[in-house]
Symmetry: C2
Subunit: 338 residues, 2 copies
DNA sequence: TTGTAAGCGTTATCAA
DNA sequence: TTGATAACGCTTACAA
């Protein structure tokens, strides 16, 4: 950087001088505290505008013991899924909600081999609260973290220990049960599942929803192949399914990305959808929309999930009473793949 | 939050007491300044470990005038592209690079109607520098921002005014020229372009590369249809192309997402790729990999682009001499679509 | 309702 | 090499 002097930012003291009041009064106006005369407010506001005053964050934090910032923690192994439309959109939702508040978002990629560093950062009072976006089950330490600062999880955390966590989620069991039902209604009787990882809440729940739908209809659980929610894993799962020789006429894939990968393999092998096999999935992202054929699926309000996590966290920070679990509504999107 | 007293974080003063030295000495040890006896270092280090001391960020910032944090600014209109694999991965690259440093990342979604708010935040000394990820050409105010704090852009900013900006980019002209050449080598002679927006550097440059390749081969610029880099816009562009009745046997799409959308339309209309028309594009994301057929394309080192932007910014902050423009290498990926 | 003054936990200057 | 001591810019009792 050049050594040129940066234009000295105006301080609260300068505003006070310009407005002809004390620093306390300026502080009160800035913080919208009651018991300030309209005149004082007007004078201070004018001075603030003229000088282009912006409170110094560090000073404010130091004096008030509040940071007005929250952390969005992404464990390193989950960071690989950064480009997953679901994660990306949730993060976006958080950021957008915050942009309408005084809060600032600190993005933390937590190195697996140095969890201690992250934990300390969070506990050292650098943030007022944290949102944990964990794909996997190794969220034990974060659940414990909730004892020292407010924490909100994206999706039900797997750890049993620690206090009951706050989290925002959708009803994955019901969603997958519902969508599997569409396959059954279309006359499919031998329905397999390309399931998510067993160490994730969404993986488990979506599998259970599929099972419930089959059971209710008296249909057999023909076969389960697991993936990790990525397109590549969906393709692999479909290959295993096909190579196993098992007979099926319907597929429930636990994510649109996996469905998309599976579809590619089906296409390669000359198997037609929906003529030969029907397919339904979860997520209404681009993968579902532009698949050939477009997929009948469940839409989750991802942006809103992010916004909700932020709002729950902020209310927690403000000491308000909030439900520990917030379920967001989903929507069935009927297209032509079932 | 509950009113229970949070375990009072140990202060530098407490460390000093425990180690039997002054606060100054502790500060020196913490900041690894020279001229401290080995004994002092040892004593202080022990005390730090025992107490689990972590420096208070706000106090440190206030006293040192350095924030050890940088902002990643995403203009609101660009935020819509959050789930674009390119953006998502670049952000991830930034975050991951930073996780290996003392720096913290503040994610800022800048509201269009209140650019002033963002500008002030950045200039009020809340961050040591900023990375601007702007999709569009309305980056004027950010270029000006570079006068007060170090700023690095992702991709060449369009604004002419202001000082020469620092930015990290790939050679889009050369990349698209190169990939278009593959189409020509495959015998295509009537090649159209699904171009990006005219208000983006990447949009302009990729169009120019296509033009250069055609010119070098003595081929005509059959037609140009514009999109905004999204799959939907690529599909629309292809529809317009087809409906216009213009005759073509090759397509250069300026992004894999647009290519993917275009492919869907081609498929709907029963036009085969590569038999009837060849297609090449840019970006080796999932869209390019799992398209049917898989696309011959250009791979950009997106994670590295993010990392590079962060490292350039940090060096700028440290007052080092850095090249204003950093070009990252790209790679041709040959598949079967040309 | 407003002002005074004492911190908040560091760093930085200056003497010793 | 170390230690006092004065900032850093703001909030917050407490007094007026």
């Amino acid at each position: 950087m050049t050594t040129e002097m940066s234009p000295q930012a105006p301080t609260l003291e300068m505003v006070a001088a310009a407005a002809g009041v004390s620093r306390s009064t300026v502080s009160r106006v800035v913080n919208a505290s009651p018991n300030v005369t309209a005149e004082a407010i007007a004078a201070v506001s004018r001075a603030i505008d003229e000088l282009g005053y912006v409170p110094n964050r560090a000073a404010r934090i130091l004096a008030s013991r509040r940071t007005f910032s929250i952390a969005l923690v992404i464990p390193e192994n989950t960071a690989k899924f950064f480009a997953d439309p679901y994660f990306a959109t949730v993060i976006q939702g958080v950021a957008m909600y915050l942009s309408g508040t005084e809060y600032t978002l600190t993005l933390l990629i937590a190195a697996e081999n140095d969890a201690e560093k992250t934990r300390r950062y969070l506990q050292a009072g650098n943030v007022d609260g944290a949102i944990i976006l964990s794909h996997h089950s190794d969220d034990r330490s974060y659940v414990a973290l909730a004892r020292s600062i407010p924490v909100v999880f994206g999706g039900r955390p797997m750890s049993a220990e620690g206090p009951n966590p706050y989290y925002v989620d959708v009803d994955n069991v019901e969603a997958s049960r519902e969508i599997t039902t569409r396959l059954i209604a279309a006359g499919r009787t031998r329905i397999v599942s390309i399931a998510g990882p067993a160490n994730m809440g969404a993986g488990l729940d979506r599998l259970e929803g599929w099972q419930r739908a089959l059971k209710a209809a008296g249909l057999p659980e023909v076969r389960i192949e697991r993936g990790d929610f990525t397109p590549a894993s969906g393709a692999d799962a479909m290959r295993r399914l096909l190579d196993s020789g098992v007979d099926f006429d319907g597929v429930f894939a636990a994510s649109a990305q996996m469905a998309s990968g599976a579809l590619t393999v089906l296409h390669e092998r000359g198997i037609r959808v929906p003529e030969d096999v029907g397919m339904v999935t979860i997520d209404n992202d681009y993968f579902a929309q532009s698949a050939v054929p477009p997929l009948t699926t469940i839409e989750q309000p991802t942006i809103e999930v992010g916004g909700k996590m932020a709002s729950v966290l902020l209310r927690l920070i403000d000491g308000e009473n909030v439900d520990r679990v917030t379920m967001m509504p989903v929507k069935v999107i009927e297209r032509t793949s079932a």
